[in-house]
């Protein structure tokens, strides 16, 4: 069956039809093309032609011309629309014209760097003019580093390496910085929130160092669709961007289906598992040989789905290898092989976490199945965009879970289709972040008395660092004057990079089969867990927590495991508080502890709970800063227990979504926790804390913005047209309760009304 016939079946067979809540057809778009500009070096032109590229898409030509005019383009077009050519073309052309010219490419992950390296090397190889491209990251051998520093035309790296290894050692990179013409920032939308604020400062340091060597590079950015690409690019790079968003790549007709699994228990509102529905949909496509990507919400779900689909492949007479898994934790060689298999069409189906949401080159697929709403509008389009050929029909199906947010999205198609995607926000002037990079910058080059670094109060900040014994002011300059290496003390990302390795002891010699990040390890690798890798089950025999190693052996059992995580907040110190306000507030240090206490065994296929066991692992603790609101009896008066719970949940939901706008961070940088009766304050309390060890100043700022925040919150709820709450205000009713909106309005009006 062709994909059109499969779509007919979905539309007509009531088994499917009744579950589809919305069917959106995005019409085919003809490609818009432009000639390869005649100023492009003939060698590069021939290399393009040898790879079958005779003309450019309009957005590629637009970007290339913008670079030629000295502008800083930001290319915002969908996945697989040929974004990489937008920067590879001008960069390679410049190097052909001036072999001294250099470029730095920044990617958020190592996997993307390698992907880019092979693509760039192929093109550079086709030109055959000795253009050298290298990746420079933690895995680069020490003896290769000198030649990369001196000879690499294009150095592909990540912001973390730039921050800790390249900028602090810039004199060794003098040749690169002196000739630095371009800085390419791919996947720009990844640099938002606290991470983005760090990266903005790293780029500020980069421009400062480049200026020392007399270079002023152009920035070429590419981004997934976000609401404010120009604003984000300007904040990150410090230069004025030119947004290019008219996609010239042709696309076939695309279908986006919102799919709600059938109710299995109407009274309890329980629906069939999204995972099992996704399995059936994927099988429908795979059975008809339609190349399909399935996105799963977690690593465990990825492996469970993969197990199912591989079995289904066997029973349908196909090779189990025709369906593969893909997620962080697979070793690089394995990932490369899967990517190649997808491009060449040998791999017909892939089950992935959001790892494949990024621009890793796997070509175009015909169908995408999204297991659960990915959480943001931008991610939904990124994932759905993996299906879509230049010609021919493609389909993406979003399968809702019974999670309230998912239920809201599939039942309110306008929310997804009508609103703009999320904003990418950064705040490079965040005091904590700015100071750490000002310190690093002072190490790199002495500041002068009239120099500014992002803020007008730079000189006072430098005087502060002098008082701390890090700098010395002499003859109009601030000299680094301490036996320290400041970049080493600042990590750009919250998560620690130390991974746990998984060692398979089944065979005669132990073998490392994968890695698990530190945060997930207690959930996935506790003793007696079933760890699934490429569909194969392994029993965890021993977890060496100190050495970060899990020893496993192959098993074949009919269940998987799921661990329970409990989170607790303890106030350590109150640093500021204000009880005079109608809604008392406080700011202080807290300890957030998370502990995995037990795990459940869940039977495959039926998903019944068939047993459980204890987990003995140390508690994971994070000391951070929090802002909290203490609700007095006067604000809660007249609310029953259920209404109060709903009201607090609604306020927590509301603040978690609203606060990032006030402090210019990302949703994931802050966490909100409601407590109906807090053990510490003894009254109903909502905590908002920084999800960074030590805190990063977000909740402190929110404490100061208390009034504004509460006014803003009330305004949002009052203006929202929904009746009982929705994801745009107090949260979906199924999550926070039907009473939430009314309770929140009542509580906030009492606070705000009393204060005015």
């Amino acid at each position: 069956m062709t994909i059109e016939q499969v779509l007919d079946q979905l539309a007509n067979d009531p088994r499917w039809r009744r579950n589809i809540t919305h069917w959106e057809v995005i019409p085919a778009q003809a490609g818009r093309y432009a000639a390869i500009p005649d100023w492009i070096d003939p060698r590069l032109r021939r290399a393009l032609q040898s790879r079958g590229i005779e003309r450019l898409y309009s957005h590629q030509a637009e970007a290339v011309e913008a670079v030629r005019r000295g502008e800083n383009p930001v290319v915002v077009t969908p996945t697989a629309s040929g974004k990489t050519l937008c920067y590879n073309l001008p960069v390679l052309d410049t190097i052909l014209e001036d072999p001294k010219a250099r470029a730095i490419y920044l990617f958020p992950t190592k996997a993307l760097s390698w992907d880019q390296l092979s693509e760039l090397q192929e093109l550079a190889g086709a030109i055959d003019a000795g253009i050298r491209t290298y990746t420079y990251d933690g895995d680069t051998p020490v003896d290769a580093r000198t030649s990369i520093r001196n000879l690499g035309h294009v150095v592909i790296t990540n912001p973390d390496m730039l921050h800790t290894a390249i900028l602090p050692h810039h004199p060794r990179w003098a040749r690169l910085f002196s000739n630095l013409r371009y800085v390419v920032i791919d996947e720009m939308h990844q640099y938002r929130g606290v991470f983005g604020s760090h990266v903005a400062n790293v780029l500020r340091r980069l421009r400062r160092v480049a200026a020392f060597y007399g270079a002023s590079p152009q920035f070429i950015c590419s981004s997934a669709t976000i609401a404010n690409p120009a604003e984000l690019a300007r904040a990150l790079t410090g230069v004025t961007p030119r947004v290019i968003s008219e996609n010239g790549a042709p696309s076939g007709e695309r279908h986006l289906l919102l799919y709600n699994p059938p109710l299995v228990n109407r009274e309890l509102g329980i629906r069939r598992s999204a995972l099992l529905e996704a399995r059936q949909l994927a099988n429908l496509f795979l059975y008809h040989n339609i190349q399909t990507i399935v996105f799963a919400p977690s690593r465990v779900a990825t492996e469970v789905l993969l197990t199912y689909l591989q079995e289904d492949a066997v029973s349908a007479g196909r090779s189990p290898k025709s369906v593969r898994g893909y997620r962080g934790g697979y070793l690089p060689a394995e990932r490369r092989e899967i990517e190649r298999g997808l491009r060449e069409g040998k791999v017909r189906g892939v089950v992935s976490t959001n790892a494949l949401e990024l621009g890793i080159d796997i070509g175009h697929l015909d169908a995408a199945v999204l297991t659960g709403y990915p959480g943001t509008i931008a991610s939904t389009w990124q994932q759905a965009g993996r299906a879509g050929r230049h010609a021919g029909t493609s389909v993406a199906v979003l399968v809702a879970s019974s999670n309230p947010l998912d239920q809201y999205v599939v039942n309110h198609p306008d929310y997804l289709l009508g609103s703009s995607p999320e904003h990418g926000r950064v705040n490079p002037e965040n005091l904590y972040i700015l100071m750490s990079h000002l310190t690093a910058a002072a190490f790199e080059l002495p500041f002068t008395d009239d120099e500014e670094f992002g803020v007008a109060s730079t000189q006072q900040a430098l005087a502060y660092l002098e008082e701390q014994g890090l700098l010395r002011h002499a003859a109009g300059r601030w000299y680094w004057s301490a036996p320290a290496y400041p970049a080493a003390d600042v990590s750009l990302r919250s998560a620690s990079s130390e991974n746990f390795v998984v060692v398979d002891t089944t065979g005669s010699s132990p073998r490392v089969i994968g890695e698990v990040d530190r945060v997930s390890a207690p959930m996935l690798l506790h003793e007696d867990a079933i760890y699934i890798h490429q569909g194969q089950q392994y029993h965890v025999d021993r977890l060496d927590y100190e050495a970060k190693k899990a020893y496993v052996h192959k098993v074949d059992v009919d269940y998987y495991t799921d661990a329970d995580l409990s989170v607790d907040i303890q106030v350590l110190d109150i640093l500021k508080s204000d009880a005079s306000h109608p809604l008392p507030r406080a700011f202080g240090e807290v300890k957030v502890s998370s502990l995995v206490t037990l795990f459940k065994k869940i039977k495959l296929y039926t998903h019944e709970n068939v047993g459980s066991g204890p987990v003995h692992l140390p508690e994971e603790q994070m000391h951070t800063q929090s802002y909290w609101l203490q609700f007095p009896a006067s604000v809660c008066a007249g609310l029953g227990q259920e209404e109060l719970t709903a009201g607090l949940g609604g306020i927590a939901y509301l603040l978690a979504n609203l606060a990032p706008l006030y402090v210019m961070c990302d949703r994931r940088d802050l966490q909100a926790v409601p407590q109906v009766r807090s053990p510490f304050t003894a009254v109903p309390t909502v905590f908002l804390y920084d999800r960074y060890p030590g805190g990063i100043g977000l909740s402190e700022r929110l404490y100061d913005l208390h009034d504004e925040l509460l006014h803003g919150a009330l305004a949002v709820v009052e203006a929202c047209p929904c009746s009982d709450g929705c994801p745009s205000c107090v949260g979906p009713p199924q999550e926070v309760g039907h009473a939430a909106k009314a309770s929140v309005l009542q509580m906030l009006r009492r606070v705000v009304g009393a204060h005015i």
Binding site: P168, A461, A463, S481, A484
Partner: protein
């Protein structure tokens, strides 16, 4: 951390412009309390002033090591090649080598500054002259670098201790940051750490310059400044201008340069007079070095001497004997080699090499098959046999079968 934030906010609220307390008031004329108290002088360069200290030592070596100073060009370049495995640029004498050591504010990166450079050179009269250049404050760095560039311009070669990894990159960085060509690019750089580590690692707990200076040269420093607090002392000097502790750093650096020279001389001496009583390297290491540099006869002599010195039965003794036997074999002195193997086989050595080598010798040189068979049989029955590598066991098995076959056919005839 809230403390940090409160303090910082207070700072940021202050009016712009230089806060009153920060930095020392700039003196009208250049003044160096360290120069004044430690006998330094101020050198004026087009880039500003720099502080210089000079010191001369006569370098008699009572143990014979000062014969090195009397080497002619050929002797020196041969000795140098033996130590470093790399030629001195020719024509260069010991007087053309600059011995360098730096003191810095940090371990590396753009923020690490060289605040003291010590340069040592041998003069024609046999004196070792040490000149040190000191950074009075950060703004005088261009002058320090200018002096350093001038000093190094007249040299042919540079000798350091761990300078490849440490001193040279920092010096290069400083020149780049001051937009000047680094003078190191024009010099051949010899890092003594590598040969010193090869020759002395068995005898010393580590191979830091201070350890070797103590255990090889017999020098003990009194009241020396530990290296790791040197950067802190410099910060203190900048803040207080109290010359006392800085004078100790000067002495420390001077001793480093001097020891670097003495240790170089010691190595040049040892490789050219391997039998002198004053050699401190391990005979196994010295022998290996000489073998590697194709000085086979000298190497053999070193091993022979080692056998006389070491108690027989020790691990070193067996190892030395083995090396010597292989060296004899390489030199074509098969009978001498065989004598050593035989000794080892007689005392039932637990090393497999003597058995195999002796068996080969008996079979192919002496053509005594039954004696060879006896040796192989002894090896196969040795209590350590099962712990020897698989290829050794296979070799013995194969050898045994062949010898057994050939001796049988002999007897049959």
């Amino acid at each position: 951390m809230s403390d940090f934030s409160a303090k910082l906010r207070e700072w940021l609220a202050k009016p712009p412009g230089r806060p009153a307390f920060s930095g020392m008031p700039m003196p009208e004329t250049f003044r160096s309390p360290l120069a004044a108290s430690a006998g330094g002088r101020v050198v004026n360069t087009p880039y500003g002033p720099c502080v210089e200290f000079s010191h001369a030592t006569s370098v008699l070596g009572l143990d014979g090591t000062d014969r090195v100073a009397a080497f002619d060009h050929d002797e020196l370049s041969q000795a140098w090649q033996l130590v470093f495995g790399q030629d001195l640029p020719s024509p260069a004498g010991l007087q053309d080598v600059v011995f360098l050591d730096t003191e810095t504010t940090g371990l590396g990166g753009a923020g690490a500054v060289v605040f003291l450079v010590g340069l040592g050179r041998l003069d024609a009269q046999g004196h070792f002259l040490i000149r040190q250049f000191f950074l009075e404050d950060y703004q005088y760095e261009p002058a320090l670098l200018d002096v350093l560039a001038g000093e190094l311009a007249g040299a042919r070669a540079l000798c350091t201790y761990n300078g490849r990894a440490f001193d040279a990159p920092i010096i290069d960085n400083r020149f780049v940051l001051n937009r000047r060509q680094s003078p190191l690019a024009a010099l051949v750089h010899f890092d003594l750490l590598y040969p010193a580590r090869r020759l002395y690692r068995r005898q010393t707990q580590d191979c830091s310059l201070t350890t070797l200076e103590n255990q090889v040269l017999g020098i003990s420093r009194a009241g020396d400044v530990p290296g790791n607090i040197v950067p802190i002392l410099y910060q203190d000097y900048l803040a207080s201008r109290n010359p006392g502790p800085m004078a100790a750093v000067l002495a420390h650096n001077r001793q480093d340069v001097y020891s670097l020279f003495l240790l170089t001389r010691q190595l040049l001496h040892e490789v050219t007079a391997p039998l002198a009583a004053s050699h401190k390297s391990h005979h196994l290491d010295l022998g290996t070095l000489l073998e590697q540099r194709q000085r086979l006869r000298e190497a053999a002599t070193v091993y022979e001497l080692g056998l006389l010195e070491k108690p027989s039965g020790s691990e070193d003794f067996a190892l030395t004997k083995e090396r010597l036997s292989l060296l004899y074999k390489r030199l074509g002195q098969l009978d001498k080699a065989a004598a050593l193997w035989e000794e080892e086989v007689r005392r039932k050595s637990s090393r497999y090499l003597p058995y195999i080598e002796l068996a080969k010798y008996l079979e192919h040189v002496r053509r005594d098959l039954s004696l060879a068979l006896e040796v192989v049989a002894a090896a196969r029955g040795h209590r350590m046999h099962d712990q020897w590598p698989a290829w050794v066991q296979a070799d013995l098995e194969h050898r045994f079968q062949r010898l057994a076959r050939r001796t049988n056919s002999h007897t049959a005839q």
